[in-house]
């Protein structure tokens, strides 16, 4: 496990000069992942904030080979790259001593929603790649529309708080569970505030052959309507409230990587975000309660599963 000092001596593989928002969570996630991965990686990326802001022609922030092809196919695209790697390697057309890893990035829109099929296909076929979902809980690039990752009650531009309907009506989809059903060798949830956990998970994932998956919370202060400097704080609180549990499943064995000494109530996280401000009103208390119930149920189930022998 690398220390920060060790990591700081590695090459910065995401160049400055990208045009993600000030305080963007996604770029923090990507920087940490690339620091852990090193330069022998090829990256694919779904259409979204990360892609449009890091590769505006004629500029690119990527110091590793990078391909964006469309929105719903980051996984399928990287699978193609990986297939070519396997083929050329077998045919002796690539240096034998050079091992390349493959990472696909997608936001929650490009992963939970439009890219789910492509992800599922890539995982099932067993390609050797790591898929990273940077989850900010809405379609931020197109202007904060609800996705199936948007939390219950959140105010987005397509689940607005109106006179009749108070924000998103559904629980978020549990993508990590869906991925787990593919029985891949490694999957985990991570958060950029815990850089040690995240970089360790990347290193571990890349040391394993076959499909791997990381779901990483990537706060978006624009969409969440919070302070531009609160990105890391929001990620930390998401973990402290168990909204975003840090856990991993390795060969079917579940480990919770962090258990808060005192699990904070979700309101601690909610009250920092404008997208949930209506939940603080007495008439919406039931939504807040439902949200807390959902989080509690998931956390309990993780604890139970971890305890299973």
């Amino acid at each position: 496990m690398a220390t920060l000092k060790e990591l700081s001596k590695r090459e910065e593989l995401l160049a400055g000069g990208h045009r993600l928002c000030a305080g963007c969570g996604a770029s923090i996630v990507v920087r940490q992942i690339l620091l852990a991965a090193g330069r022998n990686v090829v990256v694919s990326c779904a259409t979204g904030c990360l892609e449009v802001s890091t590769s505006i022609y004629p500029y690119t922030s990527w110091r590793v080979p990078f391909i964006h092809s469309a929105f719903e196919n980051s996984a399928a695209t990287v699978c193609g790259v990986e297939a070519m790697y396997q083929s050329l390697k077998r045919r002796g057309k690539l240096p034998v001593d050079e091992e390349i890893k493959f990472i696909a990035f997608g936001g929650d829109g490009g992963t939970y929603d439009i890219g789910l099929q492509s992800l599922s296909g890539g995982l099932e076929r067993g390609h050797d790649f790591l898929y990273v979902c940077y989850d900010n809980g809405a379609y931020m690039n197109t202007g904060i529309q609800r996705s199936s990752s948007t939390p219950l009650g959140a105010d987005t531009t397509t689940s607005p708080v109106g006179k009749v309907i108070p924000g998103k009506q559904q629980y978020r989809k549990d993508l990590t569970d869906i991925v787990e059903a593919h029985h891949i060798p490694y999957l985990a949830q991570a958060s950029p505030h815990n850089w040690k956990d995240l970089t360790h998970k990347v290193e571990k994932a890349l040391s394993i052959k076959g499909p791997k998956f990381l779901n990483v919370i990537a706060p978006c202060h624009r969409g969440w309507r919070a302070g531009v400097n609160q990105t890391i704080e929001l990620a930390r609180l998401a973990v402290e409230t168990c909204f975003w549990p840090l856990y991993e499943v390795e060969d079917g064995k579940l480990t919770i990587n962090y258990k808060p000494r005192e699990k904070k109530p979700i309101i601690e996280w909610i009250k920092l975000q404008g997208r949930f401000s209506h939940l603080l009103k007495p008439e919406n208390e039931h939504i807040l309660r439902r949200l807390q119930e959902g989080i509690d149920a998931k956390w309990e189930s993780l604890l139970r599963r971890e305890g299973e022998k």
């Binding site: 090829v42 004629p58 590793v64 391909i67 092809s69 193609g80 297939a83 296909g121």
Partner: protein, 393 residues
Amino acid sequence: MGKPVAMTGNIAVANAMRQINPDVCAAYPITPSTEVMQQFASFVADGKVDTELVTAESEHSAMSACIGAAAAGGRVMTATSANGLALMWEMLYIASGNRLPIVMTVVNRALSAPINIHGDHSDGMGARDSGWIQIYSENAQEAYDNLIQAVVIGQHRDVRLPVMVGMDGFIISHSIENLELLSDQEVKDFIGEYLPLYPLLNIKQPVTYGPLDLQDYYSEHKRQQAEAMKLAKPVILKVAQDFAALSGRKYGFFETYRLDDAEMAILTLGSSAGTARFVIDRAREQGVKVGLIKLRVFRPFPMKELQAALGHLKALAVMDRCDSFGAAGGPVFSEVRSALYDLSPHPAVVNYIYGLGGRDLGIAHIEQVIRDLQEIRQTGCIRELLTYLTVRE
């Protein structure tokens, strides 16, 4: 010259792929092209090729994987039909925009709805502006020959464009005919080594594919694509010439039959040329000066060459196995007629939409077309610009 073998179009194409031995194939089954990849999967399973086969979960992902694989830096092939091609739509433009010479067999089939699995050109014609080179085949031999040539055309440094090779669903894909295969070595030598351009797998020189291209550069990249299509024309002819030297079989942008002294002609694309030739021979016996032109390359569209070949005619019937609803006529008609507009005088051009969803085009239908052409020739008047030929009233 190889000895004749009996094969369906699909199996012929699968054998071409076996001989080409691409680095990666990514595909998804769809009637009537399924058999191509099915046969190819057997070649993979039997170790007759060492291609990496990606059995994608959809055509969209199949083409996405083809794009990733081609950008990675190797030879990539696939096959599809109809709705499968439609599902790839978004990715077709990305393959050509990224300048990736993927080669795809399109076993042409009608588009839903209502669902129909039989041959027409609605799928390929719908993709005519996707930036792919399009070559259409009359029979299994041509499908085989075209596919091998497509590899060399697409990968040429002046071109670097994806190529689709069409053959009519069932009529060619599932009919057994005699054809000649080249030897494996001949194909290997003909296609040569694949030289990647900006391969992603060269990690020592990292490149970025698929950036956001705004008002300042998008037009320049599209202009490059237009140029590549233009430059593809001489390459297509040169490859055809080399192929003729190897196989004895001659190809061009189109093939003409009894056209030189003709006053009237029928223009077809795909499998219906055979029927047309037969009827034209009979008409010729009765002194009717009619000929045939079979278009092989639809993209790049051989405008100048068609002007030269058709300028002497009095009347021309363009046969479209696809409608372009609300347009002046079918897609082939619109473009051929536009090509002839500059000529003075130019032939009268009429359009027939036929054979949708695999409906047979019979001798009587072509005879009717020739009768109509004769009437136009005699009266100088066009009664019907667009006729739906094989449909009940």
